[in-house]
Symmetry: C2
Subunit: 128 residues, 2 copies
């Protein structure tokens, strides 16, 4: 009975993990930290369009879920370094695969959208 596969998808644990990579910034930050550790300000500079609020919030949540490590260096002024945990490095692999897919196929998606928007314009437009 192939129904099992579907049930897995409906399983809450899976969805809760999916929720982690949802959100505008989660995946992006995991991918960045997969390359090397970053300090707070460095992340901000490399992601120009993130607010410090969202950066803090996203990092906190990733830390909470065990993906990210937060290390405070008691310098003056203080600096905080973020890096991936083992779990974070682990999930970064399927995420990288997804990014690669996106790089390869984003054009196909773009033209698909364009075609759809063009054809589907009966109702607003006038094809007669």
């Amino acid at each position: 009975m192939q129904n099992d596969d579907q049930q897995k998808v409906l399983d809450c644990p899976v969805r809760s993990v999916l929720a982690d990579i949802s959100g505008k910034w989660n995946t992006l930050i995991i991918i960045m930290l997969a390359e090397r550790p970053y300090r707070f300000g460095q992340l901000r500079r490399h992601i120009p369009d993130i607010s410090q609020r969202m950066l803090t919030q996203t990092l906190r949540n990733l830390q909470r879920c065990g993906y990210v490590n937060r290390e405070v260096f008691p310098t003056k002024p203080p600096s905080v370094e973020y890096s991936l945990t083992d779990l974070g490095r682990s999930i970064s692999e399927p995420l990288q695969a997804l990014i690669q897919w996106a790089e390869l196929h984003s054009d196909a998606v773009k033209t698909a959208r364009k075609n759809y928007d063009m054809v589907e314009n009966r109702g607003g437009g006038n094809i007669r």
Copy 2:
């Protein structure tokens, strides 16, 4: 210069694809359709907690981006079958990998969250 990798991530095309798999239902539906085509009502029944509005909306968007095929059978009453396009099948592979990761590690994430919530309870609790 390893900066290139980061730029790729910041690239808008990639983010736009990532946005497609964000959202509460997109991934779920792609994964389901990866198994076999479904009719509208079948999808509803297999995903008990989706509203028909979100189901319609999600399917429309997936169709628009080229992941999903929509075929209308002029039966009485009409029935509509949704299936993956080649592009949809293609993206379903990295998505499946992600699902598998989630199945394998959701427990680790769960306990990480629990630990964090426990330790971080100074401020609300009283560890003194």
